[in-house]
């Protein structure tokens, strides 16, 4: 290779190349999709945090965001719809040396997977859960999700969503998550910092990333790709330590971003060790 070629190759290298399965690129995400930004902030955070990447795994469920695990050059597990968290829980409990990051979407984590989320948060399982929230089921063509705003249009709510969406940080807080933050894909640096903090928290960490899905959500709600980003820019209010009850996604009023909970408490394995792994108890007569 000539020096010029080498220089060119060097210049075309992305700083995250060593964390990517470059042979799997191009990815499947649509132009203008926010998942790529959320994904690269997540990888940047992993890299900058200094955690041992040989012992770091990414677990995803199903959906557009769930494809994240397929592009990261880590031990990576693309599991069943909604079940990334219980799969990750088994991994973490079976090998506590692993850093386990769950990267998945709002449909996966909060509709079909809602039960698993609340229990993992309650137990404070040492996981970092990154939820890309684009307010709909992107991969199956834009159906209503547990996060779709009231009255928003989706393929299964053609007249508008009759239901109310989850306030995800409030849910995470109420269930006992020890770290909770929310950013948008426009706030890539803050998001990276949040991931670093989340990885450092020795318990259940939840980072919500508001992200545009121009193809399926935007199109039906009269939001051109740039409109969503403009909304993120103009309507977001950064307010660390805001009370989780103030965190409804309401673009009229403004959407609050920041770190809302950062209260480390003993994680599930610490509690298990303390409560269940007692030193030798006096043996009862015979076993069985």
């Amino acid at each position: 290779m000539t020096t010029a070629q080498e220089a060119q190759r060097e210049a075309s290298r992305h700083p995250l190349d060593d964390l990517l399965r470059t042979e799997r690129i191009p990815h499947i995400w649509c132009p203008g999709c926010g998942i790529g930004t959320a994904f690269s902030s997540c990888l940047m955070g992993m890299k900058e945090s200094g955690i041992d990447l040989d012992n770091t795994v990414m677990v995803s469920g199903i959906g557009c965001s769930g494809r994240g695990a397929g592009y990261v050059k880590l031990d990576s597990y693309h599991t069943t719809h909604g079940r990334a968290i219980p799969f990750a829980t088994g991994m973490k409990l079976a090998n506590t040396d692993l850093n386990v990051v769950v990267f998945s979407g709002d449909g996966d984590l909060f509709a079909i997977g809602g039960n698993h989320f609340i229990h993992a948060a309650r137990r404070n399982v040492d996981l970092t859960v990154v939820c890309v929230n684009n307010f709909n089921y992107g991969m199956t063509g834009g159906q209503v999700a547990a996060t779709t705003p009231h009255l928003a249009k989706t393929t299964t709510t053609p007249l508008g969503n009759p239901d109310s969406p989850f306030n995800l940080p409030l849910l995470a807080y109420a269930c006992g998550a020890s770290y909770v933050a929310r950013w948008t894909t426009l706030h890539a640096r803050d998001l990276t910092s949040a991931i670093i903090e989340a990885l450092a928290n020795p318990g259940f960490s939840f980072v919500e990333v508001l992200a545009p899905c121009p193809i399926n959500y935007g199109r039906r709600n009269k939001e051109k790709p740039l409109d969503t980003l403009r909304l993120f820019q103009e309507k977001s209010i950064i307010k660390n330590d805001a009370h989780p009850t103030e965190l409804d996604v309401d673009w009229e009023r403004g959407v609050v971003l920041g770190t809302f909970v950062n209260n480390p408490r003993p994680c599930s394995t610490d509690m298990y060790d303390k409560v269940c792994r007692l030193e030798e108890k006096p043996a009862k007569k015979s076993a069985a």
């Binding site: 990576s76 597990y77 409990l93 039960n115 007692l278």
Partner: protein, 383 residues
């Protein structure tokens, strides 16, 4: 710390013996959800696992329990869950994940009468076809059926060994009667228990192909944290483990997945023959119903009727060569099982009309009496 292998003579229930077998096999992770009549397996694990350095977790439902054991196995631990019919149904999705990702694990189904909530405290063998086909798509599975508390101890060890050897989920299809009855169980010295560990990935990390067939068609496995940076997916994948959405990739993957079980049937299939050499009539049965079968054989012989029994120890894959062989020698066969004819369909298929095959079935809630079996033989075959 108490030992993982409780060497000695015990009086314990089938459920407890199952848990002890798992520990003796090296199980270090149990993700469970309580359900009658399998709860005692989980309860036993909850106090035994932390004693030996393992982990028990009661998950929020059976879906989570199954997902957790697949995750735990990917992280390197031998893992298990236990359940009964309704919970078994919930586990089917992630059972399929374990099949396609080739993740060893053991699922114990202490069967009760169904459908739905059915008779929670009474036994049946009604989930045998669910065991075979409950998850979606084509696949092969290994399912065993113990007939006593002592046997469930050994079969659980065997189940873990087969799971590790073939990188597959293995099912133990027991039932309420075996699960709840107390019997003498002898647990040998730890050194006498043979355990098999999965073949681990070796060699250069950049050359490893996570789903390239190794010996027996089974790929060597890299656990999370081994440094191989594997990608594991429930999507159809190529030898690298990468999604490959083509007809060819599906065919290649399925051929190996099915083949690793089908081509090793002789190593996997276990059965027991009882007074079969000179038998005119053959009882084909498994699990708790084999106790009925044995009593029926003895009683029939006392009455001068030459009856023998083939007891399926591995129900899936099915001992079809053996059944075909028996069908060529016998005058008639009966399938005895506590359902309305599930394994019976397989027996009929293998016998293929060579001799008449009758079902002695029951919808569940009680055992089948040996008299009923003898009566059927006399009546149906005109003995």
């Amino acid at each position: 710390m108490r030992p993982a292998v409780l060497t000695g003579e015990h009086y314990m229930t089938g459920d407890v013996a199952c848990a002890e077998g798992a520990l003796a096999a090296g199980c270090l992770f149990f993700g469970g959800y309580p359900i009658t009549p399998a709860t005692e397996v989980a309860e036993r694990m909850s106090h035994r696992l932390p004693e030996i350095g393992g982990t028990y977790i009661q998950m929020e439902d059976e879906i989570a329990a199954m997902a957790s054991i697949v995750g735990a196995s990917c992280a390197g631990a031998k893992s298990m869950t236990s359940t009964s019919g309704p919970g078994f149904s919930l586990m089917m999705e992630n059972l399929g994940l374990a099949v396609i990702t080739e993740t060893p694990c053991v699922v114990v189904n202490v069967q009760r009468a169904g459908p739905s909530t059915g008779l929670p405290t009474q036994g049946a063998q009604g989930d045998m076809m669910q065991a075979r086909w409950g998850s979606h798509g084509d696949y092969e599975i290994i399912a065993m059926a113990p007939a006593s508390a002592q046997e469930i101890f050994y079969q659980t060890i065997d189940a873990f060994n087969l799971a590790e050897k073939y990188r597959t989920p293995v099912l133990i299809m027991t039932d309420e009667v075996i699960g709840h009855m107390s019997e003498r169980v002898v647990i040998p010295d730890a050194r006498e228990i043979k355990t098999i560990e999965r073949v681990k990935a070796k060699g250069r990390k950049d050359r490893y192909r996570p789903y390239a067939a190794g010996d027996l068609g089974v790929p060597p496995m890299a656990n999370a944290g081994d440094g191989y940076k594997v990608h594991v997916t429930g999507l159809t994948h190529d030898e690298m483990g990468y999604p490959a959405m083509t007809v060819e990739a599906q065919a290649a993957m399925m051929e190996r997945l099915m083949g690793k079980i089908q081509n090793n049937r002789d190593d996997i299939i276990r059965y027991e023959e009882f007074m079969i050499e000179d038998a005119d009539y053959i009882i084909v049965t498994y699990g708790v119903s084999a106790r009925t079968g044995r009593a029926a054989v003895e009683e029939a012989r006392a009455q001068g009727i030459k009856v023998g029994m083939l007891r399926l120890i591995t129900v899936w894959p099915f001992a079809e060569e053996k059944i075909r062989d028996l069908a060529s020698k016998a005058k008639g066969m009966v399938t005895v099982e506590i359902n309305l004819g599930q394994v019976h369909l397989e027996v009929e298929r293998c016998v293929a009309g060579r001799v008449p095959v009758k079902l002695v079935g029951h919808p569940g809630g009680t055992l089948i009496s040996p008299d009923t079996v003898i009566h059927t033989i006399k009546q149906e075959f005109g003995v």
